[in-house]
Symmetry: C2
Subunit: 503 residues, 2 copies
């Protein structure tokens, strides 16, 4: 068999896997947004069946043969060509997948299916002890996973690299140290500042259905394609791809948090624009996928923070919101509202955190899960360790487990090593935005006119269409001319909050 | 291997197939109700993949081996036991499936996927010629299917029996003859009657969202379980099972057809109650499935016609509708409304037909598709044959193809031989309702008090929980004491319309 034939067969197989995975995504999206409550058991049967089919295909020795035939062939001479990129990435996926015994994969699928419900019940009761046995089992299985995959320095490395190839615990540790040294003093200076926003206006009641429609308007304005995607109300905000032209965004609105709802829309639509901007000719292969979880997150954070928290964005949208909701928002002043949206204050809940303290929340999770994986921290000691870390870094202490270590569902889903990608995303987003401004001029002025197309086009060309051509760090280098660097994020925060708080 | 082990393996395999089929059903339901328009191509890839997996499993020679081992074993001594029923029905499915070459199944899947869109476009343009080539190809493939399956007298027999085992073209021909001899004169006497309902009140505008909510209320009142199912707005009314506790109903409302919307709700909820009433311990096996398509349809027609068109039903619900929609329905008189809901008039569109002429519409389709299959009618001649039949039996002539032979999407879906089950359903429904009244007393009085539970419980015991234990004709016999018989339907119609039209 020639290399071209081998490549064709490889792509055919991988596309079929992608189609199966997209069916799995539909089962999950439907469960989250549509499925009647009583159907959980049947759904877990369907998910288990598809997971089994995926494992069967993803570990098929024939894949290994095909990859082996292709590696070293002339077809891959250019390392940045689609074929070379796909073989490189598929090799990494395959090598990881075949090291995982089917039993481990199934055990994880089973425990996380029930753990999510246990977590939810534990959070409602604010009682960590109800979730503890599940967390213990998940940590045990994730340590087994790390052992199967292998690592050089510590088990946590084997988990991070599943989401962000090339990133290790040590690299993340240094990044968090650098950020903490900047952000904690910045937050302290803000806390001591004389000026302070009035925040009551953020809590005014805006009808949920109206918020949903306004969200659709914002999504459409920044370029989300409703012929190839949709927005729905779900339990957790999320963005899922169910096929090459089927991007589903789940949203949640709060009656008394209009601005937060708009920022959530921008966050998820940021993911959605990336998804919709991928090159469809490469659908189902790495060349048609996001470069990494962190790069995907960078797109969400860019739209949420660099666009949605900007004065220009609200210069355009606040008058429209005032017109649409005259009773609640008719009398708002742009500068006061802009200041309120960007209030900074140490808090307990990550998803409601401001931009300055957000990455401290992420860092706490990073430190704790790293310790859980190394064995330095027992699951039973998590609530105390959590409280100590919040007190130490943010000066606040959760009153109970619900606003402490039970606030995030990630661990119940088996996502350990995932949190660092939030901070990487923030760092990448700031670098990309600086570069975009350098090339496109004053973007805030465009936002103020309701124009976002130029920025989307730039991201499409530089990021979306590249798929997984480059590892994330190299993509940052190709686009911005320099390696990943936390300085642009720190500078963006200093600039915005220095002005707002008159530091 | 002992019979018990063989049975266990058989059931395990069949359940997995059922789980796969339920995933296929989710893909279809989502396409109909949720999927963004641009995602059609990706969805057809997903459907093709699942269809392939289903064919692979459904024709696995291992199934034949297991069935062979079980047949004649002591395990099946009682022919009405769950094991005997499952083996009997699975044998029939298997023998049919293995006769169909994979290529034929795939060709049919492919052509019907595109034919549905071509049909829709042709109907919008009211131009049969655009759909003709697809219909020709489908007829050709369905004749090939009939040839593969085999038949004694005519190819159409091989298609009907896929939906209604035991029913042949000849049996259906006699049934339609008998019905026509009764219904055509009844319709003529109604046309000549002196009294006539005022129908303007049926066309009053009722907001769609209000209709949807009222529909949910009706569904809940008759016993639909919303923890294990849901109602949605879709393009075509439908009821789909996505798992043992996940029954999804698609509905369509018309601003100026409130009563029609309620009848559609009852029709689909009739399917849904059957689905929700099947014995969950047998999920995924014939014992946990409807006895036949006609029996399934009987449940829909029973709730739509015997309940929803009754005076008692509206005695309860009309005051509630008047209260909910005071502007449109506040001033209605029960008897006038009841008469209007049951107006009879020959018409062109089956789905809007009254109860008396409905089965004439079905008969026309039966005659035409039977002729298409035998070769007596060429697809090109369909529009003329359609017009002639409508003129002959109903005295009306379609002005164009959209209100003629393009009105139903069944043939584009590859459903040939399916229409007869509508009339069988109507016949069964009338027989069952007579029997229920015999055992439960005056049901109309219960309906007038908003009580439907007694009827649902009776159906649950007699029909739902029986699954496919008996073939449909025998189930009718077991429940009513006599074989399938069109007389109860004719008598029910004579009674209702004799009174209403004062014949």
């Amino acid at each position: 068999m020639g290399a071209e034939q081998a490549y064709e067969e490889l792509i055919r197989r991988v596309r079929e896997e992608a189609t199966l995975a997209s069916i799995e995504a539909l089962l999950e999206w439907d469960e989250e947004t549509q499925m009647p409550a009583g159907a959980v058991e049947g759904r877990s049967e369907q998910l288990a069946l598809v997971a089994g089919l995926l494992h069967e295909r993803g570990t098929d020795p024939r894949l290994g043969e095909l990859l082996g035939e292709l590696e070293g062939s002339a077809l891959l001479a250019d390392p940045d060509s689609p074929a070379a990129v796909n073989v490189r990435e598929l090799r990494r996926d395959y090598d990881r997948y075949v090291r995982l015994p089917r039993k481990l994969v199934q055990d994880l699928a089973r425990i996380t299916a029930v753990a999510q419900r246990a977590w939810s019940a534990a959070r409602n009761a604010s009682d960590f002890s109800r979730f503890r046995p599940y967390l213990e089992r998940i940590v045990e299985l994730k340590r087994a996973e790390a052992a199967c995959v292998g690592y050089e320095r510590e088990p946590y490395d084997a988990l991070i690299e599943d989401y962000e190839p090339g990133i290790t615990s040590a690299i993340m540790g240094r990044l968090f140290d650098a950020l903490r040294r900047e952000l904690v003093p910045l937050a302290a200076r803000i806390a001591g500042a004389g000026s302070r926003p009035a925040v009551g206006m953020l809590r005014r009641a805006v009808p949920l259905e109206g918020q949903r429609r306004f969200g659709e308007r914002v999504a459409g304005a920044v370029g989300f394609n409703f012929r190839r995607g949709r927005l729905d109300l779900g339990v957790h905000p999320c963005c899922t791809s169910l096929g090459p032209a089927d991007c589903r965004i789940g949203l949640r609105f709060d009656l008394r948090d209009f601005a937060g709802g708009v920022l959530t829309v921008l966050h998820e639509v940021g993911h959605g624009l990336y998804e919709q901007g991928l090159d469809p000719q490469f659908y189902g292969t790495p060349m048609g996928e996001a470069a990494s979880v962190g790069m995907d997150e960078s797109q969400a954070r860019l739209w949420e923070n660099r666009v949605g928290r900007s004065r220009g964005f609200w210069q355009h949208f606040l008058p429209r919101a005032s017109e649409r909701f005259p009773e609640a928002l008719g009398d708002l002043d742009l500068d006061e509202f802009y200041f309120a949206v960007n209030r900074v204050s140490p808090s307990l809940i990550r998803v409601h955190a401001d931009e300055v303290t957000y990455n401290v929340h992420v860092m706490i999770r990073f430190e704790l899960e790293r310790a859980l994986m190394s064995g330095d921290l027992a699951a039973a000691d998590l609530p105390d360790a959590w409280s100590e870390a919040y007190q130490r870094y943010l000066g606040v202490t959760p009153a109970n487990d619900a606003e402490g270590c039970l606030q995030d569902g990630h661990w119940a889903e088996g996502l350990i090593g995932y949190f660092p990608t939030y901070t990487l995303g923030d760092v990448f987003a700031a670098q990309l935005f600086v570069q975009a401004r350098r090339e496109l001029g004053n973007l805030e002025e465009s936002f103020a006119r309701g124009e976002f197309r130029e920025l989307v086009r730039w991201l499409e060309e530089r990021i979306y269409r590249q798929g997984s051509r480059y590892p994330s760090a190299r993509l940052i280098e190709v686009v911005t001319g320099g390696p990943p660097n936390h300085r642009p994020l720190v500078e963006a925060l200093r600039e915005r909050y220095g002005t707002l708080y008159d530091l």
